[in-house]
Subunit: 154 residues, 2 copies
Amino acid sequence: MSSEHMQIGEVGARTELALRTIRHYEATGLVAPSACSQGGFRLYTREDVARLKAIRRMQPLDFTLEQMRDLLAVTDRLDSDEEMTAYERQSLLRRVREYEEHAVWQVEKLRAQLAEAEEFAQTLRKRLSRDRDRDRDRGRDRNRDRDRDRATTS
Amino acid sequence: MSSEHMQIGEVGARTELALRTIRHYEATGLVAPSACSQGGFRLYTREDVARLKAIRRMQPLDFTLEQMRDLLAVTDRLDSDEEMTAYERQSLLRRVREYEEHAVWQVEKLRAQLAEAEEFAQTLRKRLSRDRDRDRDRGRDRNRDRDRDRATTS
DNA sequence: CGCTACCGTGACGTCGAGGTAAAGTATGTG
DNA sequence: CACATACTTTACCTCGACGTCACGGTAGCG
């Protein structure tokens, strides 16, 4: 809980990522803790946390960890104020463009999935009301059961 | 291509599932072919295909295969006209309700993911236009590069 | 010093999906 | 009938993204 660094538990709490996942991301080269205690504890800054949150936001886009690593590297490079050849800039921008395209069509896919999912949930709901009706028809003489049903449904 | 049965290739084409996946589903108890040639080829009916399509629709809801197997079994049982105790009906309906709840909150999650994904795509788009502008500012003397950029962006 | 909560590594498991290989089956043609 | 070749079968392997388990080290407090 130092003002500068926090250890992995805190980071997990803030990002809502499993500690295992955070370590895994490090192993895959996505986010390395900015520091390390002399005892070997990972120490993270708020920036590290922000990076992890960014990764979290990418997840639904169905990027592989490798792609995210690449994209992060690319944007880091673009954000850096170091010298860069025009050629390098072009190629970095092209990569961003590719990822953006992937993202767009992944958004499409998500939209479609959402529609299907809603439809399916609707189907389930219909089943429930239909079967509840059938149940009422068959079970006029079993009021206890119907009451239990009502209780768990409301 | 008999009028009644088709073999796995046909089924794959109709459901857009990989043959491997169809077999996998069978191995996990999700859908068994209704028949079998004397040589051991799987033979499916249109109903089997419908079942597979239903499974496909469930996928975005993030059910495990086991849960789908269970849900299919439950609805099969409910659809069957066999005798059933009130207790069994209640317990089946309760399970459907649980799945429906899962589905609802999964739909929520999808919606949230979609929002985050769109936001991220938007961020990427902004990056692109911003960096394109910066590129224009720095590279007035390199028209070829700018033209290439325009070409791949439109 | 010892306590407890937290953290480290490493090996292995899981889950859904799919690849690959070697062998068997269905079917049309000469 | 023999043969080609298209499709299938099973068994096993790979992969990504974690989860789980075991076991030991560390931080920091009284």
